[in-house]
């Protein structure tokens, strides 16, 4: 997030897209409620009528995967009504003319047709967003998990820049991060293209710097993404630019790709081909079950270290109890493996690891454990021990100098409903469950509240198909099938279905498609075409 | 007698301020052994249980309408009403419909297995108050189980009660429970009328809702009492109809079902407005219930 969670309370307009915020980021939603109670306007872009959408002043209920069309429509309308921020565009951005020329080609009637949102509503939302002094955009995986994910994200940035809603307190574009340390894992360079602090592996000077600290030469060859590593090892199936070498061994820590990755059948094939699979986890997950070696890891309550939240806040997680049984923290495991492979990593504590991180990672320059222990964490960038953290990003200029407009055109989802597979299946999360459920499904209250793989369906569709709440149905896509329990609700639009990947007994990723965004390699979890087979009335 | 597993209680335990009498641990189940298993239909089974300790067996007593908290390994507990009458010796019967994890596990029980039980809990049907009256029983599906305990109790004390009529409705013929008992009761002079919502080829009896059977019954406001048990919606309609037929509210009784954890009025799950079903119920006269729409 460019802003802090607390700043949201002060916003005048909040535009939320592709986020079931009350359920998945309750603390952020809490600020939305406060802001609305203080008079802020709430605009929600979501194919589903979520709790937040019910609470919104305007709910733009788009067809899944049509964000770009909607945003281009809004931006066209903003230009038409002359609500752009000329000064901001002139001083802080580039490539505006290309953007403007593209927008002049946008027809609002067509945008309405593509998105299913009336032209009038698009105009109204655009006006409210553009007119306010302090407008903030929050988006989540509903925006990124599409083949046009990068275009979606760029379009939200375009909208914010067009109206000057960045670079100030209480405004900005805030992607919400799903896991407690997904931000930190990115910051730490657990990504194929970057070293810690988003320093490119293709930059010789950067590699040189790390080589000096680590005492070895670093590889400059491009790495594979999770999607590429786990789908038909080395396969061309996912459209890699050049044939990559086949993965023969995989070391997985605390992830469960055999439930969480799209198009699971392909993943299973890939896992079958590995010579060696080692998994480190706190439970025997679906992935650990097929491993050659399983390491018992310590849970969050049993280790010390830092994690970084969605608002870039680096906080100290403190050990509460000794590791259960003979389990060990992952840092110990990695150091042991490194030692045995002839590369000693002699750190006596996580705090010492962090000292090295501070040294090589400019944005983490001041994140020393003793300091974090005294404060409520520090928000990066923070260059040194005596420097303050950063409440919101891009205060005086964008990271890359000027913000660049990147015009994007609407792209249909890789798979849209047709006569064979007439429903659009959207996947997401339930409130009481988390991710693949390894933790929440073992927590009695949470499992009691939401222990069934529910499939949300509009009551009209249910009536037409003779289904009642509790009916068990088999849902099939071109890739696989899975069984769910029907819930009839108007949260989903007719023709749409919604469910979650929490449930191993109903693996929704047997159905999802592995088509992904060509830049971010983010799979299109949010939409695929399915049909109902085999209906058992309850 | 409430089961008191005091043999498990650590000695020398005193209450706050030292003034409370030593009492047993209300959350501790006592093992009971399955003696007989009777399949009522695909989903419903009756278990006859007795305690391992003959002394407990002898002393254990309960009243129709009460329930036991039943434990199954790794499944927690659930409340289940007695379906047999008290005072016959030789244990007690519980009839269970397969609905959740615990009841499904119960359906795998075989004679000789043990389960955990504690109780009896809840306010029973007021059998003394009912003495001298004629009784109309109206049951839906598994709702006949607690009423079976009452009917057999009445038959065991035949001279205390007047005419006995049973109206029994089920969704389909396959859902009928206690088929043998229905015959036995008919032979013993109970007027039994059955109906199903949806008939099949095997069914030659009546088709329709149980409320329709009420047309065939003459009840007299002063001398009749009605006892109703079944799904909430059925209870609501039957009680409404009986009121129209002129029975006063305090002559109508029902027994209610709720999610329940402790069984003794502490955990809070089984509330109905200001009442706790486990303690103030499960048996209520209609005079004590304000509104039957949301049962």
């Amino acid at each position: 997030m460019t802003n802090s969670i607390n700043e949201i309370e002060q916003a005048q307009v909040i535009l939320v897209s592709g986020s079931n915020t009350t359920r998945t980021h309750p603390q952020v939603a809490r600020r939305f409620y406060r802001a609305v109670d203080r008079g802020a306007k709430l605009i929600v872009i979501d194919p589903r009528r979520t709790r937040l959408a019910r609470h919104a002043h305007i709910h733009l209920r788009i067809r899944p995967g049509t964000d770009i069309a909607l945003l281009n429509g809004m931006m066209r309308s903003i230009i038409d009504e002359n609500l752009i921020d000329d000064l901001f565009i002139q001083m802080r951005t580039e490539n505006y003319t290309t953007m403007r020329d593209m927008l002049f080609g946008i027809d609002l009637a067509q945008a309405a047709a593509i998105t299913g949102v009336p032209e009038k509503t698009i105009r109204r939302a655009a006006r409210i967003y553009a007119q306010a002094q302090r407008s903030v955009i929050c988006y989540c995986l509903g925006v990124t998990q599409h083949i046009a994910g990068t275009g979606n994200v760029q379009s939200y940035a375009n909208l914010a820049m067009l109206t000057g809603h960045v670079e100030q307190e209480f405004t900005g574009v805030d992607p919400l991060r799903g896991q407690n340390n997904v931000q930190g894992a990115c910051d730490m360079g657990a990504l194929p293209g970057v070293l810690p602090g988003y320093q490119s592996v293709f930059d010789d000077a950067v590699r040189e710097k790390f080589a000096r600290v680590w005492g070895v030469e670093l590889p400059a060859t491009p790495g594979l993404t999770l999607l590429d590593m786990t789908h038909e090892a080395g396969g061309g199936a996912t459209g890699l630019p050049q044939a990559a070498p086949a993965i023969r061994a995989l070391y997985v820590t605390g992830e469960n790709p055999l439930l969480s990755e799209p198009s699971l059948n392909g993943v299973k094939k890939a896992f079958h081909q590995y010579d060696f699979l080692v998994v480190s986890d706190i439970f025997l997950s679906e992935t650990a079950r097929v491993a050659d070696v399983v390491f018992p890891a310590a849970s969050f309550a049993e280790k010390t270290g830092t994690i970084t939240s969605s608002e870039r806040r680096v906080q100290l997680m403190r050990k509460a109890i000794e590791p259960v049984g003979d389990s060990r923290p992952d840092d110990w495991i990695v150091m042991e493996l490194a030692r045995r492979m002839g590369h000693a990593m002699d750190y006596t504590s996580p705090a010492e690891v962090m000292e090295e991180i501070c040294m090589v990672t400019p944005i983490y320059g001041g994140m020393y454990h003793d300091r974090l222990d005294r404060e409520w964490g520090v928000q990066w960038p923070c260059g040194g021990r005596n420097m303050e953290g950063t409440q919101y990003l891009h205060k005086y200029s964008f990271a890359r100098g000027r913000g660049r407009f990147e015009p994007a055109a609407h792209v249909e989802p890789a798979e849209v409903p047709d006569s064979d597979y007439p429903f659009a299946l959207i996947t997401g999360r339930f409130y009481f469950q988390y991710h693949t459920g390894t933790m929440t499904r073992r927590t009695p209250i949470l499992e009691r509240e939401s222990g069934q793989p529910l499939l949300e369906m509009h009551p009209d569709d249910g009536r037409r198909l003779g289904l009642r709440p509790g009916s068990v149905v088999t849902v099939a896509s071109r890739r696989g099938r899975s069984r769910f329990v029907v819930e009839l609700t108007d949260r989903v639009a007719p023709g749409n279905l919604f469910t979650s990947f929490h449930f191993a007994e109903a693996p929704v990723n047997e159905l999802t498609i592995d088509a992904s965004d060509p830049v971010a390699r983010c799979p299109e979890y949010k939409v695929c075409a399915v049909r109902l087979e085999e209906v058992e009335p309850c | 007698m409430i089961l008191d597993p005091s043999r498990y209680v650590a000695p020398g335990m005193a209450g706050p301020q030292g003034s409370k009498p030593v009492r047993g641990n209300i959350y501790l189940p006592v093992p009971a052994q399955v003696r007989e298993v009777h399949r009522e239909n695909d989903l419903v089974t009756t278990f006859v249980l007795e305690f391992d300790d003959p002394l407990v067996n002898q002393e254990f007593s309960f009243e129709p309408g009460q329930f036991m908290m039943v434990s199954m390994p790794h499944c927690g507990e659930a409340p289940i009403s007695f379906s047999s009458p008290p005072g016959r010796g030789g244990g007690f019967a519980l009839t269970v419909r397969r609905a959740g994890r615990l009841t499904s596990a119960m359906h795998r029980l075989r004679p000789g297995d043990t389960i955990g039980v504690r109780g009896p809990y809840g306010r029973p049907f007021p059998m003394t108050e009912l003495a001298g009256s004629s009784l109309l029983f109206v049951a839906g599906g598994i709702g006949l189980a607690p009423l079976r305990s009452v009917i057999d109790f009445c038959l065991d004390h035949r001279s205390d009660y007047g005419e006995i009529t049973l109206l029994y409705g089920c969704r389909t013929p396959a859902d009928i429970c206690f088929a043998d008992d229905l015959e036995r009761w008919s032979r013993a002079g109970v007027r039994c009328l059955c109906t199903v919502d949806e008939a099949d080829d095997s069914w030659s009896g009546r088709v329709g809702l149980v409320t329709e059977l009420l047309q065939d019954v003459q009840v007299e406001a002063d001398s009749w009492r009605a006892l109703v048990c079944g799904p909430g919606i059925m209870i609501h309609f039957v009680l409404s109809r009986l009121l129209e037929m002129g029975l006063p509210r305090d002559h109508l009784f029902t027994t209610l079902e709720r999610h329940m954890k402790c069984g003794v009025g502490i955990c809070g799950h089984c509330f109905l407005e200001e009442k706790l079903i486990c303690r103030e119920g499960p048996v209520f006269s209609l005079a004590e219930l304000d509104d039957t729409r949301n049962l």
């Binding site: 390491f295 493996l337 390894t438 073992r442 | -």
Partner: protein, 133 residues
């Protein structure tokens, strides 16, 4: 009873919460009143963050596949088998034949070590995690 301030293990909000510990067992969770994000408040998952820690399904010893089945092993065995296997693959097929999946559930320090392991020890940039999930 001890109260240990830590950070919630679920979503990316970063709520500060206390774990309440009695006899080396976590018996409760509650919010921190002054934490800038949670500000005296947790969602249902945070309030139940202790729920899975002592579950019987927790892995408590290393497992190694022998004759097709995962069986308990010592740390020494499990680590050595892994180190040997990874070294063999690197040797036979090159470093890019190994992939490392880091975790959004691990700490920064662990992720740092994992990517360092991939790049400095194995010699590959095949390191990723479920950022897109």
């Amino acid at each position: 009873m001890r109260d240990v301030l830590t950070v919630c293990c679920y979503c990316g909000c970063g709520c500060g919460l206390y774990l309440h510990v009695r006899d080396d067992r976590v018996v409760g969770s509650s919010p921190s009143r002054n934490h800038p994000v949670s500000r005296n408040n947790l969602c249902v998952r945070g309030w139940n963050a202790h729920g899975f820690i002592h579950d019987a399904g927790r892995l408590t010893e290393p497992l190694v596949r022998r004759n097709g089945r995962l069986r308990p092993a010592t740390w020494d065995e499990a680590l050595q088998i892994t180190a040997d296997a990874l070294a063999r693959v690197v040797h036979e097929h090159g470093p890019d034949a190994v992939g490392v999946v880091a975790s959004a559930k691990c700490t920064n320090e662990e992720n740092y070590l994992l990517q360092k392991f991939a790049r400095a020890v194995l010699g590959t940039n095949n390191i990723d995690h479920c950022a897109r999930l």
